[in-house]
Symmetry: C2
Subunit: 225 residues, 2 copies
């Protein structure tokens, strides 16, 4: 499904260069649930942004299904982003002056799928926010904002979910509830790639990829089955 070959990403120029990714080769099958774990600044968000067609690699190859992404124009990439991916970003990126429900409904305005608006309320209730639909995004706690970002990423029924530290602002119990939602979606066939700093969360994923200094490595399974 997702095939990356020798991906590099370089920011800056001359002697002020930052090699955020330094030759990443990675294959992800449809329906897999994969965790990406690694130190702060090691390239995780950069990697997820390239997979999600939000950012472009400096060199290297990226096939999404059989589409060669570097050859796609802006319009095609926007279509991929809206239709195939649900992206939970590290800083949530909510519209502060909109209500919770309006935030969650945003992706439907440019969706070609027939999603009923009631799905927004359904997702919010699953995430423990049933009494917050009308609340302004700016009036929420950190973990409530994270959950709104999750609902918004899921509303368009994407087949690939990209989650940048989806439980980072949540207590253990709420974080587990979010993981149960992801596990259910994974059972339904969704592909899930999540960045996490939490080894317990990573252990619930079928596969873990370690990243350090812009290079990735498969983590050999030490899970007890």
């Amino acid at each position: 499904l997702i095939c990356l070959k020798e991906i590099t990403k370089v920011y800056g120029k001359n002697n002020n260069e930052v090699r955020a990714l330094n030759g990443v080769t990675l294959h992800i099958e449809s329906g897999e649930m994969t965790a990406i774990i690694g130190p702060s600044g090691s390239g995780k968000t950069t990697l997820l942004n390239i997979i999600g067609c939000v950012d472009q690699a400096t060199t290297g190859e990226y096939w999404l299904n059989n589409v060669y992404v570097p050859d796609c124009g802006q319009k095609e990439k926007a279509k991929l982003r809206n239709e195939r991916f649900g992206f939970i970003v590290q800083d949530f990126a909510l519209v502060e002056r909109y209500s919770v429900i309006k935030n969650v409904l945003l992706p439907l305005t440019y969706s070609s799928k027939k999603i009923p608006k009631s799905r927004a309320a359904e997702l919010l209730d699953m995430l423990g926010l049933s009494d917050k639909h009308k609340t302004l995004a700016s009036d929420l706690s950190g973990g409530q904002r994270q959950r709104v970002a999750i609902a918004r990423a899921l509303i368009n029924d994407p087949d690939i979910i990209l989650a940048d530290e989806p439980t980072g602002a949540l207590d253990v119990k709420t974080g587990n509830e979010v993981m149960e939602i992801f596990e259910q979606l994974n059972r339904e066939g969704k592909t899930i790639i999540m960045i996490t700093h939490n080894y317990e969360i990573a252990n619930r994923c079928k596969r873990t990829i370690m990243i350090e200094d812009g290079r990735t490595e498969e983590k050999k399974s030490t899970k007890i089955a």
Copy 2:
């Protein structure tokens, strides 16, 4: 040092009320390191904002040393915030267009203490950001931004450090390095109050306060000495 009595905080009016804090009574001694733990939306950030004179309680009493805070005017509260507290906020609140070092130096512009500018570089190096001084805040990873927020909160040598999930965006190793900095400051006599979702982090604090639905409770120590 910090004495809260029957603190409530209510947002909204009429039948649309949110009781973020519902009668909190709490005493914190000078030099203590205290963790606050509890579910998302339970009132932790609200509590820290009231302690740090960033927000005002709806009812209840708050003494900081022997100053009765509800009677303080805006100017007095600003003075308390700048001189006594170092605040690491949950969303970091960096100035995106400034460099890392300029962000860290900001509190010195209204400080009456004689802090050398070299202290900014020193803190950044302790936090693993020695190669990022000149980088724009907008070009940082999530965990790098969190560490800049930490450096900025510490530069004015505050005697009370308020940290809203200071390791939330960090991998385990970097989070431990941050905790070592806090433990060192605590040995030097600083009072530290941190909100965390991470029980391992909380266990490194002398005392843990649990919070749920706007009410607090002391956690009986189950630590093995």
